[in-house]
Subunit: 346 residues, 4 copies
């Protein structure tokens, strides 16, 4: 088959590789019909994650049709169309049993395109298929469903649920790229008082308004802390969601929240940040970090089906699977192309 | 009257000052019968809190008898013996109404010996007396009750409740001074699997065992991360409680917890710490900071009355109120004197 | 002054009574500028609450201007326009300190028009004025604010928050009178998957659709259990909210919820209901009851100001205060008149 | 093999039956080395559960050694000694994924000795073996481990966790049979202020004191409501746990709790109870029901290993497996024999 293979920092190729085969009793082989690119794939290609081996097939999001299943697979069958989640759940370890498969210690967690071959390929081996895939219902399109592989549950779980967004809250979202837009989408489900999007790029702030932000601020030009103070009567935000992954944006979040507020970090960080405990120790702040568990997938799917989440609008560009290198180029130049999510279909 | 007056960094005196008087309708004047010294008082004297004005009477913990009340005070009367909590609650602001008077925006919060004159005096003016004092019941001694003014609710609320200690948890407490011992005391209420006390001083670790730690480690000599890994089968602690207030101990806490774990900061910090988001972003960590609200006072009092909390053992040294300078000396040299809490009585 | 006085079951009169006066240090006297009638007032008039003394002035909802305050009142002053909440909070008792003034043991809770004279009068004495009134902001109308005195927080706190409505949930609301409509309004804040309104009257179901129900069922004609099963794929509702106050509707709620579901009772009941533990014991059901605490008032006010709650549409009829007997007649014949809330203004 | 077979109400026999065999890919066959009898088995024998077919092997608690596994089983192997939990978890359905396998819709839940053949036999087929068994650690005895099959997690999850027992709480446990004793054991983990055991039999109340109750009351002779009022200063219990399964004891629980209190039903009920909504509607009561999920098994095991739960004392009588009919007789006459749990070993 053909697949997008990582060959070390900066190097990738769409090339012929052996077809995947069932290795474990709980595996399935899935023919990939749609996949997408995540900001994390760009991090890997930059060499930020040296644990990714050269030769690895990238990608951790897909829709496809089951071709074959191992003898331990009981709930999906060849012919089923399924969503392949970015999180694999062994379902046996303590983390999985407690609803946190993102931290699976039984061989799951985030493994696709990272520890094992991924989904940017014609076929993919899916471990723990019973608990890591979702059958695709009739009432939603592939565009919408594909957004459930990673971006929608990540913004919702790691941003909105960890941040404990509640009706009436003032929610600051720092970073209006795909993940920030997902956090805005998720926050709206709780009827916040105001969602304030903060970014350095006007184009992304424009997108934020379209995705449901009430207010925007370009912090290349303006002081975000002063702005949030001004629109909250000096109180500060109830929740600040970090959706960039650099120290400055995290530190900004801790400056934006009111006493008793929550800072939910979603960003993938490569460097430590400074936590200003000399002022924060007394302020009843909660800071959370997290990898998605994808346990909200069923809920979000229901809201897509009832048209209460508009998932399709994340998809700004479409390509054939074999044109994935072009897709990477478009996604990698998002500031120019306006790409949010690019979708490749077989 | 006589009172302990702060005269700028390093300077204090037990001297004659005017008696306090009712200023606001919700004030009470309380004759101080017992008070104590907090580590925070030492911070103030070191000059760490420049917002404390020279001339301020120190102290934020007391037991005494009400002498006089303003016309708005309805639930305590002259002659009542009361605990004066370190937290004053206006009861009117949003924070107070939501159960967070530590963040009171109506003139309360932590104000004694900080923003207004404190309790290390013969008399003290107590604002918002109805909601900032507790009548002393028959079934407990003054020693025990005085520990409810600050140290017990602080360890319990900011350490144990924020850290969400649960039965069976592995709880690491970094710092075995008075606040760490209070956190250990509070943690035991939830039947943790193991409480691991970590400190640089063997004498404090010995005290930790007496207060209920199961295991101790001197991190001047041993590697705390390796130790916690070894006693948890490589998993890490469920909860780490910071009870020192320096960057190193906070950073240690973030290294001790397992994925999904909680870091509860109690320490009063004067400097920023480093938050290693490059490794923590993916680990589902929750970090909390906080000032006590003292909302657990009634619960803790009940547990003292039923002898399920041994509060008296915190009091290691006793003095007459007029010997407070000696008491400060003994408390300030805790490493030598073994002082945990010193109690001064009128 | 003139006031609506209860003279025993079935008897009421708009008559001259003495003006109220400050009795306690925390009292305020408020000139009533707008008030309304609650279903509970009709219960009292039917004689369902024999604890209400003859001679009592009815009513527990008002907007007005402060005329005079006792010496213990610090946060409202003569001339302030305020919302008078149906819940009075002493702010001193354990229930108030824990955020449950509805259960106040210090003389508050629901007392207006019940234990003390109420708001359907030209003037009203308001105990605990600091913690039982809210200053009226510029950005909302009296119609909207008045709905915060009781109906909006009741539907939200006792229905939606107790029922733990979450995004994607199937929420059944049994009873589409004013309180059911308030529960629907509150449930929408959490983006439920579907809100199903169930009532015996088509007119009320029509109103339910206008207030945001997705589906309706007249259970005079159709089987509600079968319907909810059919629209949930046999699963049942996640949450059922009882908004009537009779045994049959409560029992229906317990039949509608899925295993693990929540039944939130708002209705005021005069008779016991049957709890079918022979089938429910195994189903992980949570049943809650409750009186409003009004702790959500500030949040709901913020959402009214941002136009995310349309509170004004509850007000279907307007009267002068002196025409209150006519207003009672219109409100009492809601099935004919279509009255949801009637508003009387001075 | 030999097994205890149900032959309709009142009829059971220890008789030869065919050996069980692997049916599904996720099955294991376990040789039973220890089993016990549950009060539920007596209910079945009385005919209270007509859905149990004649010919069914009874029992849902066991320790044993794995003999054979299906091809989908990956985490247990022949030779492993395991605890067989009363709850089978498919790990695939929404309930299992959310941590509620007691409500499993994928073929699990409570099935042993009910829907499929059970554990009172020489061998048992265990569905979903990966997620329904626990490897037995070195640090605990079989007596202790066997109590984790049902009784300990049931008392803890359905009584203590559902009842949200907190430090300092007044906890009333109605019924001091095995399940009530388990609830008392679990409640102690949270350092309640007082545990009050209420039963009709003095012998059971004596056992309750040994298991950690602070106070007892025989409600055949005394008024439980008056007693709880008297020991709580008129406030009522914070939590009442129903551990009998008859209407009177449930109704008593709802009378014992204070406003804001929780009633946690554990009892298996055969008849409806009366819920006095005419008084409870206003009191902020939470009532929960539930089947155990056994998700606390790992936590409870840790506490057994650290000797913080004394599980062995539940076992009052021991028998050889083939003497199970005698064991049933002794367990069935618990009032005379003092049996709490009887243990049969192969």
């Amino acid at each position: 088959m053909k697949a997008l293979v990582y060959h070390g920092p900066g190097e990738k190729a769409w090339e012929a590789v052996p077809d995947p085969a069932i290795q474990d009793t709980t595996d399935a082989i899935v023919k990939v019909e749609a996949t997408t690119i995540c900001g994390t794939d760009l991090h890997i290609l930059k060499g930020d994650t040296p644990e990714v081996a050269s030769g690895r097939i990238l990608g951790h999001e897909a829709i496809g049709t089951v071709q074959e299943v191992g003898p331990g697979v009981t709930s999906v069958r060849p012919g089923d169309r399924v969503l392949v989640s970015c999180i694999s759940a062994c379902a046996r370890c303590q983390y999985c049993r407690e609803g946190h498969p993102g931290q699976c210690t039984g061989g799951g967690g985030w493994i696709f395109g990272y520890m094992i071959d991924g989904t940017q390929a014609e076929y993919v081996r899916v471990p723990f298929a019973d608990t890591s895939t979702y059958k695709i219902p009739a009432g939603a399109t592939d565009d919408e469903i594909l957004m459930l592989a990673d971006i929608l549950p990540t913004g919702y779980e790691v941003g909105v649920l960890n941040g404990k967004v509640r009706p009436g809250d003032i929610v600051a979202v720092v970073g209006a790229g795909p993940i920030g837009l997902s956090a805005i989408t998720g926050a709206r489900l709780y009827t916040p008082g105001r969602v304030i999007a903060i970014d350095l790029a006007d184009a992304r702030l424009k997108a934020a308004l379209e995705f449901g932000a009430d207010l925007t601020l370009n912090n290349a030009r303006e002081d975000a802390v002063a702005y949030v103070q001004s629109v909250t009567g000096g109180r500060g935000a109830d929740v600040a969601i970090e959706a960039v992954g650099v120290p400055a944006s995290f530190e900004l979040c801790t400056s934006l929240v009111r006493p008793g507020g929550r800072v939910a970090n979603i960003g993938v960080h490569g460097k430590p940040a400074t936590l200003h405990l000399e002022s924060l120790w007394i302020r009843d702040i909660t800071v959370t970090t997290g990898l998605v568990d994808a346990t909200s997938t069923a809920t979000l799917l229901r809201l897509i089906e009832s048209h209460q989440i508009d998932a399709a609008r994340f998809v700004t560009h479409r390509f054939a699977l074999e044109d994935i290198l072009t897709a990477y180029d478009v996604f990698g130049r998002a500031a120019d192309t306006g790409a949010i999510k690019v979708m490749m279909t077989a």
